[in-house]
Symmetry: C2
Subunit: 436 residues, 2 copies
C-alpha cells in the first residue's frame, strides 16, 4: 500500500509538548486571574449558520471565512472571531444571563488569511467582556484586569506592560471642530496605521484626505500622548476640544487608575483609534515594555450595541481580547524557552522491577504534588538518564534497598536519601504539603 | 433592518457558565492526574487534508465527516476523532518525540451524526496513549491512570468505577478453536452489542452466523466474566482456550493490579471486544458504579501499528479515551448540579463607591485565593443580594467604617467582622495562604 505523506494544511500547525505545555500554562494563569475577578467561562460551537456569523455581510471577512454546505444542505461557516458568536449567544440566552454579565471565552477561530505575514489560519483568541454596565467602573475593571493578567503572564507584575487608552468620542469631536467630521472613517483608517507607517507616512495619507493644514493639526493632536503623564495629556486634550462626556469619562477612569496605584502602566494616547472597529467609547491597546515592536497583544474598547443584529434590546458593554499566539511568541522571544520538562521526576526501571510496585512508589511522590513518570523499559542507567534528559526531566529516582538514589540529570550527580519524604524535599521543596 | 434569529445548528450547543465551569473543573482534574503521571499535552489542527483523515476511506465515517473545498481548492475536513490526527502527528514529528511517548489530547471533534439518540455533532474527546512500549507495564499504566482519573472526577476515589478488561487474542483463539476464526469480524460485531441487546438477542444474532451449538459456546464464553474475581475468571479462560501470550499478559496485568491494591476496580470480562476497532491486545471499557446503564465512559486498548498509513515504521501503543460530554451528563445525573457559583464573594457597591478603591479591597481577598466580583452599580442592598443569588455567589461583602459586614445569601444573615483577614477566614477558610 502506498503511504500518505503526513502533513498539515498551509497556515495550520501542530503543538508539540513543549509549546503546548507553555500554552496551557499561559491559559491557566489567564483563567486564574479572570476567575479571581468573578468572570465566568462560556463556550459556543465552532460551526454556525453563515448568516449568523456574517450578518449583513462584510467584504474582507467574507473572503476569509471557511464556509461550506453541510450534509443537511445548510450554509455553515467556522467562526472567525469570538465577538459575533458572543453577540448571538447573548441574544439567544438573554433571560438566563444575570446582568452585568462578566464572561470570558478562550477558543480557536479560523480565517483563510494570506499566511505570508507569519499569520496562522487557526489561532486562539481570549475574549473577556462586561455586558450591561455603562459606567466607568466597568471600563476600569477591564483595564485593571488586563494589567493584572498580563502582569501574571509576564511574571513581572507591575511594569510589564503599557496600556495606551483613548476615547473614540474625543477624536470624533476634534475632527468635527476642524470641519472634517464627515471624513472621520477614512481619517481613522489612516491614523490607525501610525504604528506601522510612522508619523510622516500617516501625515501624507491624511493630507490626501484633508489637505495640508488640517493634516498637520490632526498629527499634532494624535501626538499629544507622547508627553506621558495622564493628567497633563488630558489637560491638553481638553484645551484642544473642550470638556465633554468623553473627557469626563477619561477623568474618572484616570482617578480609578491612580487609586489602585497602577498609574505606571497606563498612558492616555489620542493616537489609539482601533481603526474601523465597532467601538463607541474608550478604546485601548497593550504593549509589552520589553518588546513593544510586536504590536498590541491585548486590545478592546466600549461598544453600545452588542446584539443589534439579533435583538431589539440594546446591550452595551466593554471588553478586550488577548491574541494568545502572538503573546506566546513574544514571551518566548523575551524570556527564551521556559522550563518545559515533561515531569518533575522519573522513576527508573531497575532489576526486579514491577509495574505495580513502581506505580505505588510513584504515587507517593505524586501525592506530594510532584509529577512523576514511571519508566517502563529495563535499560542501563545511562540510557534512562538520557531518556530523562530528552524529556527535560531534572531528576531520576532509583529505588534501592531501604533507600533511594536521586540522579540530578544536569549536574550528573547521584545522591542517596533515606526515603520519599527526603527525596521530595530535594526534588521540589515548594510542593511539600503544608508548604505550598 | 430585519433581525436574524439567534440559534445554533442542530446537534450543536452553547455552554452557559454553570455547565462550562463544571466542564473546566473536570478538565482540570483530568489534566492534573495525567500530568502527575508525566503525560504531556499536544494539539493538532481542527482542519486537515481529507485524504489524511479518511485514509483508505471508511464507509460510515466518510458519511459523517464535515468535508469541503477550501479557498485554495484543497479537499479538507474537520477531524472526527483524535486518533487519526495523532497517528499523522506521530509519523510527522517522529524524530522529535522521545519514546516511549506518553501524551494526552483534549479537544473537540465533529461528526454529522444522526442526532436523534441524544448525540451531539460537536463533542469533546480526551485521549491518552503510550506509544512505543510493548510491555504489560504500559498496559497497566493506562489502566491505573484511568482508575485514578475517574476516581478524581467522581470524587469518591476507589469504588467509583469498574474497568472491564479483556484481550483480543483470547477471543480470537477461542473462535479458532471452535472452527469459526474466519467469521471473527461478524461475530465480534454482534458480541459488542451485549450491553444494548442483551444475552438472548446476541445469542440469536450469533446463531445466524455460527449455528446454534457454537453460538451457545460463544455466549457461555463471554459470560465467564460474571463470576467477578479476576484470578478465577482467568483460570476458567485458560481452561477454555489453553495458555497463550494473551493469558500470560492478562496474568501479569492482574498481578500489577493487585500490587497497587486496586483490584476492586477491575473485572476480567471476555465479553468486552470493542467491536471493530483496530485493537490487537488488551481492550477495556469503564462503567460508573452508580450509573452503569449509561455505558462506557472511558474505553481503549492496545494496537500494534499506529502510523501504518503514513510511515513504514511500526509503532505499537496502548491508549484510552474519555467521552467528556457523556461523563459530564452522567456525573450531573449522579450528584446533581455541582457548586457552580460565579465567585466566592461579591463586593457590594455602596454610597461613595469608587471603582479604584473597590478593586483595591477586592484584591486583598483575591490575593488570599478568594474569587471576588466587584459589583458595579449602586443599588439597594436587597437588589445586590438578589444579584449575588442569581450568580450563585454565597457571600456579599459590604464595606463600612473600620469594619466589614458579611452577608450570607443562603441564610439571609449579616455578620460584622473587623477586617479582610477575619472575613476571609469565614468566606473560604481553606483558601487562606499557609493553610492550603
Amino acid at each position: 500500500m502506498s503511504l500518505i505523506e503526513p502533513r498539515v494544511l498551509k497556515g495550520f500547525r501542530d503543538f508539540l509538548p513543549p509549546q503546548e505545555l507553555e500554552r496551557r500554562n499561559m491559559v491557566e494563569k489567564i483563567e486564574r486571574t479572570f476567575r479571581s475577578f468573578g468572570f465566568v467561562p462560556i463556550d459556543t460551537p465552532a460551526l454556525e449558520y453563515t448568516r449568523i456569523l456574517l450578518g449583513k455581510g462584510g467584504g474582507e471577512t467574507e473572503k476569509q471565512v471557511y464556509r461550506f454546505t453541510d450534509q443537511g444542505g445548510r450554509d455553515v461557516a467556522l467562526r472567525f472571531d469570538l465577538t459575533v458568536p458572543f453577540a448571538r449567544f447573548t441574544a439567544e440566552h438573554r433571560s438566563d444571563l444575570p446582568l452585568p454579565f462578566k464572561r470570558y471565552h478562550i477558543a480557536k477561530v479560523w480565517r483563510g488569511e494570506n499566511t505570508q505575514r507569519g499569520r496562522y489560519r487557526e489561532f486562539t483568541q481570549c475574549d473577556f467582556d462586561i455586558v450591561g454596565s455603562a459606567g466607568a467602573g466597568a471600563d476600569f475593571e477591564i483595564l485593571f484586569m488586563m494589567q493584572k493578567t498580563l502582569g501574571a503572564l509576564c511574571g513581572t507584575g507591575k511594569g510589564a506592560v503599557t496600556i495606551r487608552l483613548n476615547h473614540r468620542g474625543l477624536f470624533n469631536r476634534f475632527l468635527e471642530s476642524l470641519g472634517v467630521g464627515n471624513k472621520s472613517v477614512e481619517i481613522l483608517r489612516q491614523v490607525d496605521k501610525l504604528g506601522k507607517t510612522g508619523k510622516d507616512g500617516v501625515h501624507t495619507l491624511v493630507e490626501e484626505i484633508t489637505g495640508k493644514e488640517i493634516a498637520g493639526k490632526i498629527l499634532d493632536f494624535v501626538s499629544l500622548g507622547e508627553e506621558g503623564d495622564f493628567d497633563r495629556v488630558l489637560k491638553k486634550l481638553k484645551a484642544a476640544v473642550g470638556e465633554g462626556e468623553d473627557t469626563r469619562r477619561l477623568e474618572t477612569v484616570g482617578k480609578y487608575i491612580k487609586e489602585t496605584g497602577a498609574a505606571d502602566s497606563f498612558v492616555l494616547d489620542p493616537s489609539i483609534t482601533r481603526g474601523l472597529d465597532y467601538y463607541t467609547g474608550i478604546v485601548y491597546e497593550t504593549f509589552l515594555n520589553k518588546l513593544p515592536g510586536i504590536g498590541s497583544v491585548c486590545s478592546g474598547g466600549r461598544y453600545d450595541n452588542l446584539t443589534g443584529l439579533y435583538s431589539k434590546e440594546k446591550l452595551c458593554g466593554v471588553g478586550s481580547s488577548i491574541g494568545l499566539d502572538r503573546l506566546q511568541a513574544a514571551l518566548e522571544e523575551i524570556a527564551g524557552p521556559g522550563p518545559r520538562g515533561y515531569a518533575d521526576a522519573a522513576l527508573a526501571c531497575t532489576e526486579g522491577w514491577s509495574a505495580g510496585k513502581a506505580q505505588v512508589l510513584a504515587e507517593q511522590f505524586r501525592s506530594r504534588g510532584i509529577t512523576c513518570e514511571v519508566f517502563l523499559e529495563i535499560q542501563k542507567p545511562v540510557q534512562q538518564f538520557m531518556a530523562a534528559e530528552k524529556k527535560g526531566i531534572p531528576w531520576v529516582i532509583i529505588p534501592g534497598e531501604g533507600q533511594l538514589v536521586l540522579r540530578n540529570i544536569e549536574r550528573r550527580e547521584n545522591r542517596e536519601v533515606p526515603d520519599v519524604e527526603a527525596a521530595s524535599a530535594i526534588i521540589a521543596p515548594a510542593a511539600i504539603p503544608g508548604h505550598v
